[in-house]
């Protein structure tokens, strides 16, 4: 294995030398993803597979165990959770042991990484194998339907309006549906599977370029898979699941392009432009993250931090009264001129003709154009979420609200103690291991600007963990993990490869690393997804040759058949999503349209009538089950036995009674769900 001894801030290696004590690998020196270019003999090729076939078989067995767990969960039988965790450990532990080992060849590491990532994707697919059941998936499913039916982009999505303004995912999926004759569900599964593959390959490639070590690259992929959102959230049919892998690919291409030995930099630049464009039209946060990383990288390459340090010194001298304000301004102007001049000089000397600034500016301008002319409402959407997070943090500091209790859901469900131990233990492992990685960065990679950016991301991840205590900020912290883990995974991988337990028995080190990595992975699952949703739930029941659907699906199917699509229907969070996708109605849900207030109001007064008239509501779907307000669990048959975290109760009868007494038609009734025709109530103009 070779390591980078010295590089400049663009990450270009000055020289390469084997690290003391490292065992050389026959295939380590191969170029990026040069799987097909190896010149090894057929025996070597067979050897290059290493333990991959055996580990693939073990992981297949593990998937079988998880499938059995899903079966038990659907049947409501005990032991399902145990099988799930057994399967997860069976997948992770062998891969962790092998990837942490120094023995595998580069090809084996790459194959292991790919297999691991795809096996974990299968875990999600097995979680909901009959259709989309995650809250966000319904919105993007609707967007695909819109493109297919109207043959145009930017359709209407009343549940999550901005999702329609990022047509990357739905347009690709719709293309697959049109070309391949697949259902939207299976086209979506394929698109996200491809995205997952891109993520693994791009991350491996990026980490390998930065570290010159396939071992670090393989471990980076493994550790990244431990981020709380990798197993479920980023495997769902959602725009981030597609965009984030493309961001990593942009970084990998951009870094590869910096190498002076790289051929055809123009082609690479064009490829990067195309991928950047794809990210910008696919997902807002991913594009902002991409711009932020490229910007930080560019500034570090340009040694902007030196300008900042000198600026701070000058500011202090001004504050001390040693220089006048005008002198400080003059200095600032001069420093800016020097900075620009130095940049021009390096450009003239072709020293940095391949620095990331061009890609950064392209990404920045494209993102701003998209934001200004296509998706301006993103500002309000993202701003509201981040604003709430900031307010929550400050309210917490101000003691105006109590901190969120960890491992307790909003519905009051408390996770078992062993999950507390796993979750907190994984954080402890990360905190302990991170300094090793940071030391490695400082000793060997501090001249590589992109590595420094990744190290900053790793440190930021620890900072973001504090937000988990703020009620409205924990989601921001959770969602940041899949972004910041890119840096954290790389730095931790560096740390893991640097750990040496010289005096311990030879098996202790690998065993500790394997246990640690498996623990961190399990901790990620605990932090990222509710316990009672990690296994499959009953979303359809076969009775003879008939398939029974949950009530909300039945109501939607009935509505499509009898009322037709395109009507404005008010509903709760889960029913609204089902109506959106299965009945093709213009569903209005949530607080934005005052639908929650309308549903929960004890009577139909001025405000409720005003809401009906203002939004010209044609129908309203009223679900008596409390679970219908839960946009994560409201799509399944309600468990017949009590399940922790599932609110199987009913609302007060007022919810229905106010419509019953309003002299309007009840056009559908399935027991818990009723649909009312609001024609008589909405006929008036909104009162002023």
């Amino acid at each position: 294995m070779s390591v980078r001894k010295r590089t400049d801030l663009m990450g270009i290696p000055a020289e390469r030398a084997p690290r003391a004590g490292a065992r050389p690998s026959k295939t380590d020196a191969a170029g990026p993803l040069a799987l097909g270019r190896t010149q090894a003999s057929s025996r070597d090729e067979l050897a290059a597979w290493g333990l991959m076939p055996a580990l693939a078989a073990v992981s297949a067995l593990a998937l079988l165990v998880i499938a059995a767990g899903n079966y038990l969960a659907r049947a409501g039988a005990p032991g399902a959770e145990l099988l799930f965790w057994l399967g997860i450990v069976l997948i992770i532990a062998p891969f962790a042991a092998r990837l942490a080992s120094e023995r595998p060849s580069r090809q084996e590491r790459l194959r292991l990484a790919v297999w691991l990532g795809m096996a974990l994707y299968v875990v999600k697919v097995m979680n909901s194998p009959n259709g989309f059941t995650y809250a966000d998936e319904f919105m993007h499913w609707h967007n695909v339907n819109q493109i297919l039916s109207t043959q145009t982009l930017f359709g209407q999505n009343l549940v999550l309006p901005i999702s329609a303004l990022y047509p990357g995912l739905p347009s690709v999926t719709a293309s697959l549906v049109s070309l391949g004759g697949l259902s939207v569900f299976w086209a979506g599964i394929l698109v996200i599977a491809a995205a997952r593959l891109v993520m693994i390959l791009a991350l491996f490639w990026l980490a390998e370029q930065l570290s010159q070590s396939p071992r670090v690259a393989g471990l980076t992929v493994l550790i990244y898979a431990a981020n709380p959102n990798f197993l479920f959230f980023d495997a769902q049919f959602s725009y981030e699941s597609l965009a984030l892998p493309l961001v990593v690919l942009v970084l990998a291409v951009a870094h590869y392009r910096l190498n002076p030995k790289t051929r055809q930099p123009v082609v690479l630049t064009l490829v990067a432009f195309v991928i950047i464009g794809a990210v910008v039209i696919t997902h807002h946060l991913s594009s902002y993250f991409m711009v932020a990383v490229l910007l930080a990288w560019t500034l570090l390459v340009a040694r902007f931090h030196l300008v900042v340090i000198n600026g701070a010194r000058t500011t202090l001298r001004w504050y001390a009264g040693e220089i006048t304000g005008s002198a400080a301004w003059r200095w600032a102007l001069q420093a800016t001129r020097n900075f620009v001049h130095r940049r021009e000089q390096t450009r003239v000397n072709h020293e940095s003709s391949r620095d990331p600034s061009g890609l950064m500016f392209f990404a920045l301008i494209l993102t701003l154009i998209w934001l200004a002319f296509v998706a301006s409402s993103t500002v309000g959407y993202v701003g509201t979420v981040l604003g709430r997070a900031v307010v929550s943090v400050f309210r917490l500091i101000a003691a105006e609200e109590t901190g969120r209790t960890l491992f307790v859901s909003t519905s009051g469900y408390v996770a078992p103690v062993w999950e507390h131990i796993i979750g907190l233990g994984s954080i402890v492992i990360i905190v302990v291991a991170l300094p090793f990685g940071l030391v490695a960065v400082w000793r060997r990679y501090r001249r590589n600007a992109l590595v420094l950016v990744l190290a900053l991301m790793a440190i930021a991840y620890l900072g973001m963990l504090g937000l988990r205590f703020a009620p409205a900020a924990w989601e921001t912290s959770n969602r940041a993990s899949e972004f910041l883990y890119i840096g954290l995974a790389f730095v931790l991988a560096l740390g893991v490869t640097d750990i040496r337990l010289r005096k311990a028995a030879s098996w202790i080190g690998p065993a500790a690393v394997t246990i640690g990595l498996t623990w961190v992975f399990c901790g990620g699952i605990v932090a990222g997804w509710p316990e009672n949703l990690r296994l499959a739930r009953v979303d359809q029941v076969a009775v003879g040759d008939r398939i029974l659907q949950p009530q909300e699906t039945t109501a939607a199917v009935w509505m499509l058949a009898n009322i037709g699509p395109g009507h404005v229907v008010a509903a709760d969070d889960s029913n609204g999503r089902v109506l959106l996708t299965q009945a093709h109605e213009d569903a209005l849900v949530g607080r934005n349209y005052s639908i929650d207030d309308l549903l929960s109001a004890p009577s139909l007064d001025h405000y409720e009538l005003y809401t009906i008239q203002r939004f010209q509501l044609e129908y309203i779907l009223v679900d008596q089950r409390r679970i219908s307000s839960d946009n994560m669990r409201g799509y399944f048959f309600v468990p017949t036995r009590p399940v922790a975290g599932w609110d199987v109760g009913l609302y007060d009868l007022d919810r229905l009674a106010k419509f019953e007494s309003a002299a309007i038609d009840r056009i559908f009734d399935s027991g818990d769900i009723a649909i009312y025709n609001l024609e008589t109530l909405r006929s008036g103009q909104p009162a002023n």
Binding site: L316, Y319, G321, V391, A398, Y607
Partner: protein
């Protein structure tokens, strides 16, 4: 000082034009003044006569509520501005370094209620700042006139002025004891302010209201601390406190540097202290900027009024301590020290401007939300419970009703009530406040449209 006063003037103008003076009970002050055509005098605080007369005069010229709001706000904005100018003029020649404490007092001590111009507690503190500085510096003929004028104004503003009279009396007595050449005059000042405090106390005991006496209790102080100060503001004040210590200690550190120049390198000793001081001020500024930007965070800032005196006294105390310990010739200070303090003043001015402008903008945003809610409301009476965003902002106050009236001009058609509209009987009048049932036919505001709308809905 141009940058400093430019920042202050800009911020105050923006705040006044944003309608900041109508925050909380400010809207009732304006509504009541205009509707009754007489200055509203809360708890016999006669300073309101002077400050509300301009808007009454303007009302004779125009009914435009935007202009009236601006006149009302700008009049009140003159108090901090004139007080600050007087502070500078008083110390400019004799002890310019002392101005930094006044700047910090205005910049942080009264900052949290600055947008709420009409708070008499704040006004009394701001009016007394020039008096405090005058007590610490050699007197001049015009300063004596200013001191008398401001003391009278403060006397009729808020009971806090009585405590401040006592503080000034104490400072004047000690300064007279410390500096022989000023002794007679300062001791006369001390006697005068003691007399003023006693008279004020007698007056207060004769005319005080239950509201005022209720505010003077440990429980209320604690409650108001929890509501207004706990959290972000107290963090910011902690940073300011550290900056104060460094600022005060800096001249002594310089002296150490001069005494042992070989052992202690000046740059290595002084620069980190400057850095700490600047970082503390920047941190306090950043915290207050965030506080001002998020309306929820300053929703209960009104309760700071019971703390404004106690949070301002340390700044006055530092000024007094410096005058006593270091003497007037030293507070003039070496040139470099004043240059440094001038920078401190500029930084404080910029922080003040940023905070006030951002708080004004967030107040405008909250007001726009209320306006939109009123416009969209189907009924003439809107219950506060129907306004989803109100409970977490400064609008969550009894003065929401008069504010909703003022927002619609002198002929309102709707009203927002604190309670439930369905539970109110509007036949006798409009409940503008718990103690103010306004008859429909009297007053300068034309309520007949509102009355008709309410009657139609009922």
């Amino acid at each position: 000082m141009k940058l400093y006063f430019g920042s202050i003037v800009s911020a105050l103008v923006v705040a006044a034009l944003s309608g900041g003076a109508l925050l909380w009970d400010g809207s009732y002050y304006l509504y009541s003044t205009l509707d009754t055509q007489a200055p509203f005098l809360p708890n016999n605080r006669y300073i309101a006569v002077v400050l509300e007369t301009p808007v009454l005069l303007a009302f004779k010229v125009t009914n435009n509520i935007a202009i009236l709001k601006a006149v009302f706000g700008l009049t009140y904005a003159l108090v901090p501005l004139i007080s600050l100018l007087l502070c500078w003029l008083i110390v400019r020649r004799s002890a310019p370094a002392l101005f930094v404490w006044a700047a910090l007092g205005f910049g942080f001590g009264t900052l949290m209620l600055q947008l709420h111009f009409i708070a008499e507690a704040t006004l009394s503190v701001q009016l007394m700042w020039p008096v405090v500085l005058a007590a610490l510096t050699p007197p001049r003929w015009w300063v004596r006139g200013v001191v008398i004028l401001l003391s009278v104004a403060a006397f009729f503003s808020h009971p806090f002025a009585l405590a401040l009279f006592a503080v000034v009396a104490g400072l004047a007595a000690v300064i007279g004891w410390r500096y022989r050449e000023q002794r007679l005059e300062k001791w006369l000042w001390a006697a005068g302010f003691v007399a003023l405090a006693v008279v004020g106390l007698l007056r207060f005991s004769g005319i005080h209201t239950n509201y005022e006496t209720d505010q003077i209790s440990w429980q209320i102080l604690l409650l108001h601390y929890q509501l207004a100060l706990q959290g972000v503001p107290i963090l910011a004040f902690s940073a300011v406190a550290l900056a104060l210590v460094v600022l005060y200690a800096m001249p002594y550190v310089r002296r150490v540097k001069l005494r042992w120049p070989l052992q202690l390198d000046g740059a290595s000793l002084v620069m980190p202290l400057y850095a700490i001081e600047l970082l503390c001020l920047a941190a306090a500024g950043a915290l207050f900027v965030l506080w001002a930007s998020i309306p929820e965070l300053w929703a209960d800032a009104l309760d700071y009024r019971t703390w404004v005196l106690f949070m301002s006294l340390p700044f006055m105390g530092m000024a007094g301590l410096e005058s006593l310990v270091r003497g007037p010739e030293r507070t003039q200070g070496p040139q470099l020290e004043w240059k440094h303090r001038a920078r401190t003043v500029q930084v404080v001015g910029v922080v003040f401007a940023l905070v006030i402008v951002l708080q004004s903008l967030s107040w405008i945003q909250v007001t726009n939300q209320l306006q939109a809610a009123i416009d969209q409301s189907p009924g003439a009476c809107v219950s506060m419970s129907a306004l989803s965003d109100v409970p977490h902002t400064a609008l969550s106050h009894w003065s929401l009703t008069p504010y909703s009236i003022i927002l619609q001009g002198t002929v309102p058609s709707k009203v927002v009530l604190n309670g439930d509209c369905a539970a109110v009987n509007f036949t006798k009048g409009l409940p503008v406040a718990a103690w103010d049932l306004r008859p429909w036919t009297t007053g300068a505001f034309d309520m007949h449209v509102l009355f008709q709308n309410l009657a139609a809905k009922s």
